[in-house]
């Protein structure tokens, strides 16, 4: 959003530098239950983004003063690995990761039935192994699959994807170049069964019309991500059943 480049981000045919059209998202791969010591886990790849999420709980909330006597709290920790970006990222929480942790936990609180577990805490850890723009969406996508995998009661699974503007075009799922040299980035997360928006931010400038188009595009793509999330969770158990059937023979 800040830098300038001579790069042509969208060519005259409407093609982007990685060969996508404006309304195409990157390749998405989701896998549930990848960690055995966590209560629930998920691994997500969106293009070159690689994200691992783990869920623990519900368990007793520490420190005590954070406990809520009427519902569980969701403690989320978004962390970027030092090797996740091309210039080494200084390890530890910074202003950006505190913000992302907060918005992700607030988005998840909207779907998790927290009132079933008063005084407890559900801990979500999101590790960014490799970043290429759109990690907050990838992180939230992974976290909600991990929550469902942990068997935590929730209303729905939250998919997230960003839309934005680069080279004057409204684009879906910006990559790093489009994010760095584009004009705007709008991450969106929804509750698919009701189309409620649980996360919406905007970095940069767009007109009202462009913004509406971006949100519409992102909501549409969220439904595609949602199908992949559901598929990942179901695949985990159909694979189990296959193994068991294999033993039968």
């Amino acid at each position: 959003m800040s830098g300038h480049t001579d790069m042509v981000l969208v060519d005259e045919n409407g093609m982007r530098i990685d060969g996508r059209t404006a309304e195409e998202h990157r390749n998405i791969k989701i896998e549930a239950g990848v960690l055995s010591n966590a209560d629930g886990s998920a691994y997500v790849e969106i293009g070159k983004n690689k994200v691992l999420a783990a869920v623990y709980g519900p368990r007793e909330c520490h420190p005590r003063h954070l406990q809520n006597p009427s519902k569980a709290i969701i403690q989320c920790k978004y962390n970027m690995q030092a090797f996740s970006v091309s210039d080494r990222k200084r390890p530890g929480p910074d202003r950006r990761s505190v913000e992302i942790s907060k918005i992700i936990s607030e988005a998840l609180e909207k779907v998790v039935l927290t009132e079933l577990y008063p005084r407890a805490s559900i801990d979500v850890y999101i590790e960014i192994l490799q970043a290429n723009a759109g990690t907050r969406c990838a992180g939230l996508t992974a976290a909600s699959v991990a929550l469902a995998d942990a068997g935590i009661p929730m209303r729905d699974i939250v998919p997230a994807i960003a839309a934005g503007k680069a080279d004057g075009h409204v684009l879906l799922d910006l990559n790093k170049e489009e994010d760095n040299y584009g004009q705007a980035d709008v991450p969106v997360a929804i509750v698919p069964s009701t189309d409620e928006i649980v996360l919406l931010q905007m970095d940069g400038n767009m007109t009202r019309e462009e913004f509406d188009r971006a949100v519409k595009m992102a909501v549409g793509a969220c439904h595609e991500v949602y199908e992949l999330q559901k598929d990942a969770l179901k695949r985990r158990y159909s694979a189990n059943a296959k193994e068991a059937d294999g033993d039968e023979q």
Partner: protein, 236 residues
């Protein structure tokens, strides 16, 4: 039989999936939105009369009053013990709820940290405050044997339809086995038999989705403990 019937129509659902839109009532782990029943947790769709719910595949044990559980003492107070029953909340065990007469401050003489006890859940209130008791027949401190943990969602599989699996395990391995509702299992017997029983339990856990599991586990144990079989034959 119930499980095998359920298996034919076994449908895995994830949170948010529509379970029914023809006016059925929501059962366990389900909620209604705009007249449709949605799943509230990942699990297997389960229809019972005119309610539709979800049997969870994973998740934490949530105590229900009346459950018999196996707990580990994790803290001692002057008039109570704190017991870990692998629930999201710790369970306090008050001195009034143990079968001994305990003087104030004398708690550690009866139960120490790390001791394993058989408990019954007395009550769970709406704030999820748990109280447990040891004042019931069969409830006691456990000594000897070993403790195996499985996810609580697999407990029903270990017990089997009207206890078929657990009876088979006890008979074939010649062990004393106690299954707590919270997924902790205590086994006591000959070292070798305990190994076989523990491995059989791990096998049930891994293949919980398979059909005809009781027979498979029996074959597994008979394979593991062939000597046992010979003994029987000689006796015959």
């Amino acid at each position: 039989m119930e499980r095998r019937n359920a298996r034919q129509t076994r449908e895995i659902v994830v949170p948010g999936d529509v379970l029914d839109n023809s006016g059925m009532k929501p059962g366990e782990n389900a909620y209604v939105l705009d007249g449709r029943v949605h799943a509230g947790v990942m699990g297997v769709r389960n229809v019972f009369q005119n309610t539709v719910g979800v049997i969870p595949l994973r998740g934490h044990y949530m105590p229900v009053s009346g459950d018999t559980v196996i707990g580990v003492i994790i803290d001692i107070g002057p008039s109570n013990w704190t017991v870990d029953i692998s629930a999201p909340y710790p369970a306090p065990l008050h001195v009034n709820e143990v079968p001994w007469k305990v003087e104030f401050g004398d708690t550690s003489r009866y139960l120490d940290i790390g001791n394993v006890v058989l408990l019954k859940v007395l009550s769970v209130d709406e704030n999820k405050k748990i109280s447990v008791t040891m004042k019931d027949s069969g409830l006691r401190r456990i000594e000897g044997g070993r403790l195996v943990s499985i996810p609580y969602s697999k407990v029903s599989r270990i017990i089997g339809k009207s206890g078929s699996m657990i009876t088979m395990l006890k008979n074939t391995t010649d062990c004393r086995i106690f299954v707590g509702q919270n997924g902790r299992i205590w086994i006591d017997g000959e070292e070798e038999n305990m190994d076989a029983a523990a491995d059989a339990i791990k096998m049930i856990e891994a293949q919980a989705q398979a059909s005809n599991l009781t027979d498979k586990v029996r074959a597994f144990i008979e394979n593991r403990l062939p000597r046992e079989e010979d003994d029987f034959e000689e006796e015959d």
